[in-house]
C-alpha cells in the first residue's frame, strides 16, 4: 500500500513540482499600485516619483525662480531710475536705520569669505595628504604595503625618488589582484573621475556589491597582503609598483575603507608612514571609524522644516516725523515659519530650492487724542451783520482849472447780510483712542540657495546662501497713514503692497545623520528684504529683516 501511495505522490510531484503558469498581465500593475500606497505609509519615496521627475521638477523650480528673480531685479533697476526723485537720497536719511543692517551685511561677507578658504571635505580628504600626493603625482611613487611577515615594522614612503625609473625595483601587482579589482568594477587607469565619490548612485551600487561580494569589507586588503607574500623579495625601504596598479590599490583602499588602515605621520624632515596592519585587535575600531565617515551624500533629498522667527522692520522716508512716530509706536514680532525643500548635492556642494510660508509685520500700539463735540452747547450765534461791498469799474478823470483828479464810478453796492454763524463747542475733556494692532503680512516664498557641507562625522555642518521670492497671500492690520496721521486698515488705496518681494537669505546649521536615509538638522537663518513691501508710489520704504531658527528632517531619495 505504501508503494501505491508513493507512486501516487511521485506522480503528482513529478508533474506539478516545477509547474509554472504566467499570471494575468494586470497583476503587476495592481501590485505596483498597492506597493505605492504602502511606500507612502513607510516613507519610501524612491518609488513615489521616478528620478527623472524629481530631477526635472527641481530644474524647473530653480530655473523659474532664477528667471523671476532676474526679471524683477532688472525691473527694479529701471523703476529706481524713474522714481529716484520721489525718494530723497537714502544714504542721508537711512544712516541711522541702516547701521544695524550694514554691520549685518559685513558679517555676512566675512562669513562667506571664510567659507571659500575652508577645505572642502570629500572622501579623498580622508586619505592623508601624502597619499594624495602619491595619487596625483605623475611620476612613479614608492609605496610599501605591509605584508604579514612585517606586520609590526614601520615602512617609509618616499613619494619623489630620484631613482624612480629603475625597473629593477618594480614589483608588478599580481594579476589576481587586478581581477579582484575588475570584479569590483574599478577603472584600471585610476582616473580621478572614476574614483567612487559616493554621490554617484552607481558607485554606491559598486560599494554595496563589493561589500556583498566579500563578507568582510577588509578581506580584499588581506588578500593583497597575502599575495604580497608570494611576490619577489620586497625591499623593505623601496617597493615600487606600477603607477596604475598603485592607483588601483589605493582606489581599492578608498573604496573599501574611506579612512585607510594606515596613517602617515609627518615627522618634520621626512614623511614617514606607520602602516598599521589590520588585525583582530584593531579591526573593530577601524570599522567604527570607517562607518562614521562612510556616509556618502545622496544626490537628491527632501527637507521638511519649521521654526520660529524674530521679525524687525526698517523704515526709510523723507517724512521724519512720521518715521519717528512709527518707530515709537511699533514693536518687532516673534512668528513662525515652515516649508519644504528639494536638495541636490554634488560632492559637498548643494543646491536647494523649495517653498515656505513666512510672516512679517509688527505690533502697533497707538494712542490718538480726539476732541469730543458737545452737541448741546453748540449753537447759532444770532448776530446781525451787514457788510457793504463796493465794486468799482473804473475811474473818471475830473478836471478843473487847478486840480487833476479822478472820481470812482460806482458800479454796484452789494449788501451782504449774515444772519448767524454756527458755533461748535467741544468738550473740555479730550478722548483717548488706544489701538493695539497686530499687523501680519503673509508670503509664500520660493527660496533658492547654494551651500556647502562640512565635516566627516555623523554630525556635520553646512552653510547656504541665496535668494527667495515672496508672493503676497494676504495682509491684515492697520497703520498710521503718512500726511494725515489717521489710522487705517490695510487696503490697496492707502497701503499699496508689492505683490512680490525678494529677499536675501543666509542659513547656517548642523545636521546629524541617523542612517543612510534619514537625517535631522537645526539651523539659524537670516533673511533681509531687498525691496520694500510697499509699492514705489508709497512715500515710505518699509523692509524687514528676519532672524530665525529652523529644525527639520531630511529624507534621502
Amino acid at each position: 500500500m505504501k508503494e501505491v501511495n508513493n507512486k501516487l505522490d511521485d506522480m503528482f510531484k513529478s508533474a506539478l513540482e516545477d509547474y509554472s503558469q504566467e499570471p494575468s498581465p494586470k497583476l503587476l500593475n495592481v501590485l505596483n499600485k498597492k506597493m505605492f500606497f504602502k511606500d507612502i505609509a513607510r516613507f519610501n519615496f524612491r518609488n513615489l516619483f521616478s528620478k527623472s521627475i524629481i530631477k526635472y521638477s527641481s530644474y524647473v523650480v530653480i530655473s523659474v525662480s532664477t528667471f523671476v528673480a532676474s526679471y524683477y531685479l532688472i525691473n527694479n533697476n529701471k523703476t529706481d531710475n524713474k522714481n529716484s526723485n520721489q525718494i530723497i537720497s537714502q544714504s542721508q536719511i537711512n544712516t541711522q536705520n541702516h547701521n544695524t543692517s550694514d554691520t549685518l551685511n559685513n558679517n555676512i561677507r566675512n562669513i562667506s569669505s571664510n567659507n571659500s578658504l575652508e577645505n572642502k571635505t570629500t572622501i579623498n580628504d580622508s586619505l592623508n595628504n601624502n597619499q594624495k600626493n602619491i595619487l596625483n603625482n605623475k611620476n612613479e611613487a614608492n609605496t610599501v604595503i605591509n605584508n604579514s611577515t612585517h606586520q609590526n615594522s614601520l615602512k617609509k614612503i618616499e613619494p619623489n625618488l630620484s631613482d624612480k625609473n629603475t625597473t629593477d625595483n618594480k614589483n608588478t601587482v599580481n594579476n589576481t589582484t587586478q581581477t579582484d579589482l575588475n570584479k569590483n568594477k574599478l577603472s584600471s587607469k585610476g582616473n580621478s573621475k572614476n574614483k567612487p565619490n559616493g554621490n554617484n548612485i552607481s558607485d554606491k551600487k559598486n560599494l554595496d556589491i563589493s561589500a556583498s561580494d566579500s563578507k568582510n569589507k577588509f578581506e580584499s586588503i588581506k588578500i593583497l597582503e597575502e599575495k604580497n607574500k608570494n611576490k619577489n623579495t620586497i625591499d623593505n625601504n623601496k617597493n615600487i609598483y606600477n603607477t596604475s596598479d598603485l592607483k588601483n590599490i589605493n582606489y581599492k583602499i578608498t573604496l573599501l575603507q574611506p579612512k585607510p588602515a594606515f596613517t602617515i605621520k609627518n615627522d618634520g624632515e621626512n614623511t614617514s608612514s606607520d602602516f598599521i596592519p589590520i588585525n583582530d585587535n584593531n579591526k573593530e575600531t577601524i570599522k567604527k571609524n570607517n562607518t562614521k565617515s562612510k556616509y556618502i551624500f545622496p544626490k537628491y533629498a527632501i527637507e521638511v522644516y519649521g521654526g520660529g522667527d524674530y521679525v524687525n522692520k526698517i523704515l526709510s522716508s523723507p517724512l521724519n516725523t512720521y518715521i519717528n512716530e512709527r518707530n515709537k509706536t511699533e514693536k518687532s514680532i516673534y512668528t513662525y515659519n515652515f516649508g519644504a525643500d528639494i536638495k541636490y548635492t554634488l560632492k559637498n556642494t548643494f543646491i536647494q530650492a523649495g517653498v515656505n510660508k513666512s510672516i512679517v509685520g509688527e505690533n502697533v500700539v497707538i494712542t490718538t487724542i480726539s476732541k469730543l463735540l458737545d452737541s448741546s452747547a453748540s449753537h447759532f450765534n444770532y448776530q446781525y451783520h451787514q457788510i457793504i461791498h463796493i465794486d468799482t469799474i473804473g475811474w473818471i478823470p475830473v478836471w478843473d482849472s487847478i486840480h487833476r483828479d479822478s472820481i470812482p464810478i460806482l458800479d454796484s453796492v452789494i449788501f451782504n447780510t449774515v444772519d448767524s454763524n454756527w458755533v461748535s463747542v467741544y468738550d473740555s475733556v479730550n478722548k483717548e483712542n488706544k489701538y493695539n494692532i497686530k499687523n501680519r503680512i503673509n508670503y509664500i516664498e520660493i527660496p533658492v540657495l547654494i551651500g556647502f557641507n562640512f565635516g566627516n562625522s555623523p554630525l556635520r555642518f553646512n552653510v547656504a546662501t541665496g535668494v527667495s521670492f515672496g508672493f503676497l497671500t494676504n495682509s491684515k492690520g492697520k497703520l498710521i497713514r503718512p500726511y494725515t496721521n489717521d489710522v487705517s486698515d490695510f487696503n490697496k488705496t492707502y497701503f499699496p503692497f508689492n505683490k512680490i518681494i525678494y529677499n536675501y537669505i543666509l542659513r547656517a546649521g548642523c545636521f546629524y545623520i541617523i542612517n543612510e536615509r534619514w537625517s535631522i538638522f537645526m539651523r539659524g537663518s537670516f533673511k533681509y528684504n531687498i525691496n520694500s513691501i510697499f509699492d514705489k508710489s508709497y512715500p515710505v520704504n518699509q523692509k524687514y529683516y528676519t532672524i530665525g531658527i529652523q529644525g527639520g528632517i531630511s529624507v534621502n531619495l
Partner: protein, 190 residues
C-alpha cells in the same frame, strides 16, 4: 543589461521599482504555479500571489543568504496561502482520532496508477478539486516535504488529523484519476 540576483535583491531592499518588477517577472510564474496547487481557481491563486509578493517586498531585508532565494520566496508564498486558508476555513478540520489509521490504510484499494496518463493541467485540476483540508495537507506533505508534526503545527491540528487527511486525500485523488481515465477512454471510443 544582465543584472545579478544580488543586484535585484539590493534594489528591492532599497525599494526600487525597477528591481521589484524584475524580481516579479523572474519568479511570478513559478510562484503562481505553487499558488494554483493551494487554491480552487486562478483568481484566488493570483490574490495569494499578489499578497505574497507584497510580503516579499516588505520583508526582503530579512533574507539572510543562508539558503536558496527561491526557496525563501516559496516559503513566503506558502505561508500566505496557509494564512489565506485559515482565514476562510476555520472549522474545516474534524478531529477523527477514534478511527485507526491502520484500518483506513487496509481499506484502500490498490489501483494501478502507472498506466494512467494525465497531463499537468489535468492533474492540477484534480488537485484543485480536492477538499480544502485534504489539499493543504497533501501539498505540504508531498510537495513541500513537511512532516506531519510540522503540518500539524502550521495548520493547528493534531498529528493524527494530518495523517488521516493525507490518506483521505490520496484516496480521493485516486478515485478522481480513475474517473478521469474512464471518461478519457470513453471519449476515445466515441
Amino acid at each position: 543589461m544582465m543584472i545579478s540576483e544580488e543586484q535585484i535583491i539590493a534594489g528591492c531592499i532599497a525599494g526600487k521599482r525597477h528591481e521589484r518588477n524584475m524580481l516579479y517577472k523572474k519568479y511570478a510564474s513559478k510562484m503562481h504555479g505553487v499558488c494554483l496547487r493551494y487554491t480552487i481557481n486562478k483568481a484566488e491563486a493570483e490574490d495569494i500571489l499578489m499578497e505574497g509578493f507584497m510580503k516579499i517586498y516588505s520583508n526582503i531585508k530579512t533574507f539572510r543568504n543562508d539558503g536558496s532565494f527561491e526557496g525563501w520566496l516559496k516559503r513566503i508564498i506558502i505561508n500566505t496561502a496557509i494564512t489565506h486558508y485559515r482565514k476562510n476555513n476555520k472549522y474545516h478540520f474534524i478531529d477523527i482520532e477514534q478511527i485507526e489509521l491502520s484500518e483506513m490504510e487496509d481499506s484502500q484499494e490498490e489501483n494501478d496508477i502507472e498506466e494512467m496518463q494525465f497531463s499537468k493541467e489535468e492533474m492540477l485540476n484534480v488537485i484543485q478539486q480536492l477538499p480544502e483540508g485534504y489539499k493543504m495537507v497533501f501539498n505540504l506533505f508531498v510537495f513541500e516535504n513537511y512532516s506531519h508534526k510540522e503540518i500539524a503545527e502550521m495548520l493547528e491540528i493534531s498529528e493524527n488529523t494530518s495523517k488521516t487527511q493525507l490518506l483521505k486525500a490520496r484516496k480521493w485523488l485516486r478515485n478522481k484519476l480513475q474517473d478521469l481515465s474512464i471518461k478519457k477512454f470513453a471519449m476515445l471510443k466515441l
